[in-house]
């Protein structure tokens, strides 16, 4: 029922590394990643996007990320990306037109670039440190609080989902889309929802007893140093150059 993703939630441990990306402060790293991906999405040149993909692959290796980790992330997104790429390429019939192939490649390479950038962004520090950085990015306090709490509950509920899965397997449950099976899935989802609602009662009382007023207090963020600004500035400069090159290529 839960399958590989439940295991993936539980096995979410950051890769310990000591590279230049791992020492990059999370807030400036996030700003740089978002602006870089936005810049890449705006590109039109297939060759430029291919070069960018190669570049971010090299950056990910210099960041000390294992290739296996990148491959796992790409495989997780592969069904959707392949569906998109194949339907764009072959949508007009066989053999595919050159423009369609280029467009399919462009979409695929942009998506792959983004996945690699996200992996570099998120796997180069402990998730708690990253969350703490996000909490100091002027986001609404409600969003920060819900993010912190929901992240904890995901582990709790994925354990419950795994327990339900074991209980169903012990009762010889046949997964599938038969009406009876869907009734079991639906009632399992309803049960999980009820547990969430019931638990919210005691959670709020416990939080209120500790002075909760809607804002979750987090630790101080890592200070932004000159080298963080320099790394962020370099990424922005590269992004600007890419956009200019793309513009020159097409105009």
């Amino acid at each position: 029922m839960g399958g590989n993703h439940t295991h993936c939630v539980k096995s979410h441990i950051h890769h310990t590394c000591d590279s230049w990306v791992c020492h990059w402060e999370p807030r400036t790293k996030t700003v740089a990643a978002v602006l870089f991906v936005t810049g890449v999405v705006s590109l039109h040149s297939f060759y430029l996007v291919s070069a960018v993909l190669l570049g971010v692959l090299l950056v990910s290796f210099s960041a000390g990320l294992p290739f296996k980790l990148l491959l796992t992330r790409i495989i997780l997104a592969a069904p959707f990306l392949l569906l998109m790429a194949v339907s764009i390429a072959l949508g007009g019939g066989f053999p595919p037109a050159a423009e369609r192939l280029t467009f399919a490649g462009l979409v695929l390479f942009k998506a792959l670039t983004s996945i690699i950038v996200m992996t570099v962004l998120l796997k180069t520090q402990p998730i708690d440190r990253y969350f703490n950085g996000l909490a100091h990015m002027k986001l609404p306090p409600v969003i920060v609080t819900v993010l912190f709490l929901a992240h904890r509950y995901v582990y709790l509920f994925s354990d419950q989902l795994a327990n339900t899965q074991r209980a169903l397997a012990a009762r010889l449950f046949q997964p599938g889309i038969k009406k009876r099976s869907l009734a079991v899935y639906g009632e399992a989802a309803g049960g999980l929802l009820l547990k969430a609602v019931d638990r919210s009662d005691s959670v709020y009382r416990a939080m209120a007893a500790r002075g909760f007023d809607g804002i979750l207090r987090t630790g101080p963020p890592l200070s932004i140093r000159k080298r963080d600004y320099l790394k962020c500035g370099t990424v922005l400069l590269v992004t600007t150059v890419l956009i200019l090159l793309d513009w020159m290529w097409f105009v």
Binding site: L76, A77, S114, L182, A189, V203
Partner: protein, 210 residues
């Protein structure tokens, strides 16, 4: 929905982000401190729902349960879903950084429509209206995605085996599965905790519970 970066054009992504941002700010403004634990728990629960894999032939589908979201959460779905999407990006790198807004409106707008439909058809049995709401949520989600794809680039709609045709065919069985799943889940809640399916339920729940 996990639309990756690069699939949609920048103007479409930007417009969706603006709509999503407005929705989030409105929902945040309407949220009280005592509702925060409940929204967080439901956000975690809905995130985990998406991990349930249902085998269909050689592949599996993951329920969206947008209909259930709209019925239970209403406007607060904006907060629960954006957090769920951020967690998907953080934990699995599913979706994208620039497409968070698109992915949010692809789930929340159908969810809100489904919620409205569910609470407006009081004459029908609970199972039937929940199933209708669940099915409608998937259909409207796909329609919305088709519109966004066509606005991004007409190539998505060209040819017999176009992305849009394949999406429509692929999501048809999911709409049926979601309809039944939402029907059973809401029927279960109706039998065990009917107060969850009343209007202004978030307010009541936070007053009674949290």
């Amino acid at each position: 929905m996990h639309i990756a970066d690069g699939v949609l054009s920048l103007p479409v992504v930007g417009a969706a982000a603006a709509v999503a941002g407005g929705g989030i700010l409105y929902a945040v403004k309407k949220t009280k401190a005592e509702e925060v634990p409940l929204i967080s728990l439901l956000s975690g629960a809905f995130f985990v729902f998406a991990l349930i894999s249902i085998p269909i032939g050689p592949t599996t589908v993951h329920p969206l349960l947008a209909g259930l979201l709209g019925i239970i959460l209403g406007m607060q779905a904006f907060i629960a879903v954006i957090i769920g999407l951020v967690l998907h990006v953080l934990l699995f790198q599913h979706g994208g950084l620039t497409t968070l807004g698109v992915n949010l409106i692809l789930v929340v707008i159908p969810a809100l429509m489904a919620g409205k439909l569910f609470y407006s058809m009081k004459r029908l049995p609970v199972f039937a209206r929940a199933a209708l709401a669940g099915g409608l949520a998937v259909v409207s989600c796909v329609l919305l995605l088709i519109i966004l794809l066509l606005l991004s680039d007409p190539v998505y709609g060209e040819g017999t085996f176009s992305t849009i045709n394949i999406l429509a065919i692929a999501y048809m069985p999911l709409a049926a599965v979601e309809a039944l799943l939402t029907g059973f889940a809401v029927n279960f809640l109706y039998k065990t905790r009917p107060e969850l399916l009343q209007k202004d339920r978030m307010k009541e729940l936070s007053e009674n519970g949290g």
